[in-house]
Amino acid sequence: MAELWRPIRKILREPLGALGLFLVLFVIFGAVFADLLTSWDPTKINPRDRFQGPSTQHLMGTDQLGRDLFARVLHGGRIALFVALVSTAVSLVIGIVLGLIAGYGPRWLDNLMILLFDAMKSFPTVMLALALVTLMGPSLTAVMVVVVLVTVPGYARIIRTQTIALKTSEYVTAAQSMGASSARILRVHILPNVIGPLVILASMDIPVVIGIEAGMSFLGLGVRPPTPSWGSILNDGFTNIRDTAWIAIAGGVPIIITTLGFTFLGETLRDVFDPRLKGR
């Protein structure tokens, strides 16, 4: 328990970190307990109640189809967090594997992979998204594929650089002299020493991912209606801004809160645990 408390105490000591942690927990709480917090079905259309302002019955009002916005925001949070966590995790795994191979493998393979990473990175995100959606059709999977493609090159490069630095370190040479296989050296001696900073950087990418999901859903390239997403709620609000501002507010505020929360938390994590990464 004490092991777990120490880092948390360190974060809480920084005002921004404490705020970030609070906001993030707040959002997660909402997403996890969505069904307990509201009895409304986020997809149930109720034309008679459209464009209602906040009331005790509809805490955030209703949208143009009379759906309860509070329920939609909570369930949209689920989507946002799901996309963020799953695609970041997938990116991490792919990025780590590619980075380790590039860093530890032969020089030509490294050069080839770097070329590939740079090519992937040079694609503008929106263009990539459009291209993919044209191929796959709009879906949550498309969003996640875009996120993975956008973030993997960066992760792989970080891992590669550190792997190269550790490749010639004495403890790796020592493992070689004991007869350890490359796989074992990568798994036991290199991976645990390169993964920490990457996880911190990835946590700082979560707001970006949430932004991508919201952005694509806003453009109609992400989740299909009627599934709620903050981006699609925002889009509903945008088209109906003349009737009521509540929809746009309901879609926008969670994005801001989540983005700020993860950013503050990520930056504090970085400053507290790995100050060397500052400025990245």
Partner: protein
């Protein structure tokens, strides 16, 4: 020499490519070295930075490819083995690296570190926790250290962990690169005593690479002095120390300040800097710095002469207690 060498190094060369496109060049880090290490013996490689001693040790351990020569370990040619075939050899020969803490994986516990050889070689049927305790006891560390991490250790403790790991699989030979580097004086002795003790108890042979001549004096049976990738002198430690025959050995020995303020410093000063491996001097490679150099030395390279197990590569080997000529006229280049 003795009939039972465990390690035999014959005319080994190690070359490194230098220069970029167009002009491909190579420098010789180790330029033809031969020696043998007998079972149960401690052999010391002495030299300053750039002398090629670490490269030679890594070559002997198969971490560095050689460009010429042969290395035989326990009657088996090992320089031609691939990584897979080399693996069983690594059970019999272990290596210790310079940095006591830096040669230990930072996120592994001491217990995992010392038993890593068992896992690497897939040795089953042993209780690794017991093995860790046994090894730690053997090197004089409390068994409770098994749960510590390298950064929680002092230099001397980390070095002991390195020793424990090196002896884990009962090797026949340990190659120790600067075993006292980074250690306080009060701890140096501890580590050397431990190595000596283990050598006697386990019948190990040992190759010690160091720049510290005082260390060599107390632990090594035989000593070889390296300069620019070659042996300039080799022989019984006691003899090399009491009567160095090569001027470089003499200079090295005299360059060691002794902790006695009243000691008159009868020092052999070398007039020039170490030449670059890219431009090896003609003739005897030490002549640019040798206070005794004569005209012949800049022209032909001296052959290695072996008498009574004592090898020296010098045209004019020193008499015991020789002093350099008073005025040394040398271009300081």
């Amino acid at each position: 020499m003795s009939s039972d060498p465990i390690l035999k190094v014959e005319d080994v060369q190690v070359s490194f490519p230098v220069g970029g496109l167009g002009r491909k060049n190579a420098i010789l880090g180790v330029a033809g070295v031969s020696f043998e290490v007998n079972r149960g013996e401690t052999f010391a490689l002495v030299g300053e930075s750039g002398s090629g001693k670490t490269t030679l040790a890594r070559a002997a351990n198969g971490l560095q490819e050689i460009s010429a020569g042969a290395i035989t370990f326990e009657d088996q040619r090992i320089d031609t083995l691939d990584r897979k075939a080399m693996k069983p050899v690594r059970k019999r020969m272990s290596m210790m690296f310079q940095d006591p803490v830096g040669s230990l994986s930072p996120r592994m516990t001491v217990g995992d570190l010392v038993t890593e050889p068992f896992r690497i070689h897939g040795i089953e049927g042993r209780n690794l926790r017991e093995e860790a305790a046994r090894l730690l006891t053997l090197v004089g560390l409390p068994t409770s250290f098994a749960s510590r991490f390298p950064h929680q250790l002092s230099g001397g403790q980390a070095r002991r962990v390195g020793v424990a790991r090196a002896i884990a699989l009962d090797p026949a030979l340990i190659i120790a690169d600067e075993p006292t580097a980074g250690l306080d004086v009060s701890v140096q002795g501890e580590v050397l005593n431990l190595l000596n003790d283990l050598r006697e108890r386990l019948g190990l042979a040992m190759v010690i690479i160091t720049h510290n001549l005082h260390v060599v004096h107390h632990v090594a049976d035989r000593t070889a002095v390296m300069y620019l990738g070659r042996f300039v002198e080799a022989g019984d430690t006691e003899e090399v120390f009491s009567a160095p025959q090569h001027p470089y050995t003499a200079a090295l020995l005299s360059a060691n300040p002794e902790p006695d303020p009243d000691k008159t410093h009868d020092r052999i000063t070398l007039p020039a800097e170490v030449p670059s491996l890219l431009a090896r001097p003609a003739g005897c490679e030490f002549h640019t710095r040798c206070p005794w150099a004569q005209s012949r030395c800049s022209m032909d390279a001296p052959e290695r002469q072996v008498t009574n197990g004592r090898a020296v590569a010098c045209h004019f080997p020193l008499e015991p207690g020789a002093r350099p000529p008073e005025i040394v006229e040398k271009a300081a280049s």
